[in-house]
């Protein structure tokens, strides 16, 4: 394989960005649901 560094960098950055965003999103949703649950907001 040629240009291994560039391939690793490209796929690595994409994986980190996409996974990072997804995980953070899921965690924020969990946190928000936990905050909401005791107050019983859902209409």
């Amino acid at each position: 394989m040629t240009d291994v560094g560039y391939v690793i960098a490209g796929w690595g950055i994409a994986a980190v960005v996409l996974a990072g965003y997804s995980v953070r999103l899921v965690l924020r949703i969990r946190q928000a649901e936990r905050d909401d649950a005791p107050r019983n907001v859902k209409p």
Binding site: V7, V17, A32, D35
Partner: protein, 247 residues
């Protein structure tokens, strides 16, 4: 129309599973299945991520603009569109940023430089900043939720109207004064069958991922809004309670 969830749970689950399957397929095809490009070498494998990212960037901003228009039109006005617009813009900025970085990483070994003043590159970079500003605007809180949503929708449309102008002006700029050097035909040989297939897999995988993340981002917006509502109800109760205590 008021929705707690964008997608029905069963649809979301299916989209989620398909996203994972297609992403795994993309990794397998992109890193092993597709043959090494004769001219560009293995650096071309970055393209399997770059092209889908760029496609998603345009799709996401198109959806932001459409949702904003639907919000502004009285007959279809609903919080759904405001939230979809915001969620899609955030994802669009992420995919645009990714497309720029990946394009740069691909360009270094293939072109020999990190950045080129190529029409598509420049207009994508401008697009990134256009909607980065929009996202910054959205984050500023307001006392008038409907007014703020209207403001955001107008801002999205003003920015979107600029996209074709940016595109054509940059295109003219780079073609009127010098011949395109970057996309010379030698670098774009006929695409191998498996390569084309891999690009398709990448596009489908990223689109599914976009749909899934859009649904999740929408859910977060609904939850945050719900929390704001609860806080407001508490504040009103507290305020009237104070009054009751005085009189």
């Amino acid at each position: 129309m008021e929705r707690d969830e964008l997608l029905a749970p069963i649809v979301r689950r299916i989209v989620g599973v398909l996203t994972i399957v297609s992403l795994v397929a993309l990794v397998l095809f992109g890193l092993w299945g597709a043959p090494t490009d004769e001219v560009q070498g293995d650096a071309q494998r970055v393209m399997y991520l770059h092209v889908p990212s760029a496609w998603l960037a345009y799709l996401a901003f198109f959806i932001t603009a459409s949702a904003s228009a639907l919000f502004l039109w009285r007959r279809t006005r609903a919080d759904v569109w405001d939230r979809v617009a915001g969620a899609s813009a955030e994802l669009g900025v992420m995919f645009t940023g990714l497309a720029l970085v990946l394009g740069s990483i691909w360009g270094r070994p293939v072109w020999g430089f990190w950045w080129a003043w190529d029409a598509r590159l420049v207009s994508t970079a401008l697009l990134f900043f256009l909607f980065l500003g929009y996202c910054a605007l959205r984050r500023i809180p307001s006392s008038d939720p409907v007014g703020a949503a209207k403001r955001n929708a107008i801002a999205a449309l003003i920015a979107f109207v600029d996209v074709p102008i940016v595109h054509f002006s940059v295109e003219w700029w780079r073609t009127l004064h010098q011949k395109a050097t970057v996309f010379n035909p030698q670098l774009n040989p006929e695409i191998h069958g498996v390569m084309a297939l891999t690009l398709w897999i990448g596009t489908i995988a990223f689109t599914l991922l976009y749909v899934y993340l859009l649904d999740r981002r929408y859910r977060l917006a609904v939850l945050e809004h719900g929390r704001a509502d609860v806080e407001l109800a508490h504040a009103i109760a507290e305020r009237t309670g104070v009054k009751a205590g005085v009189t």
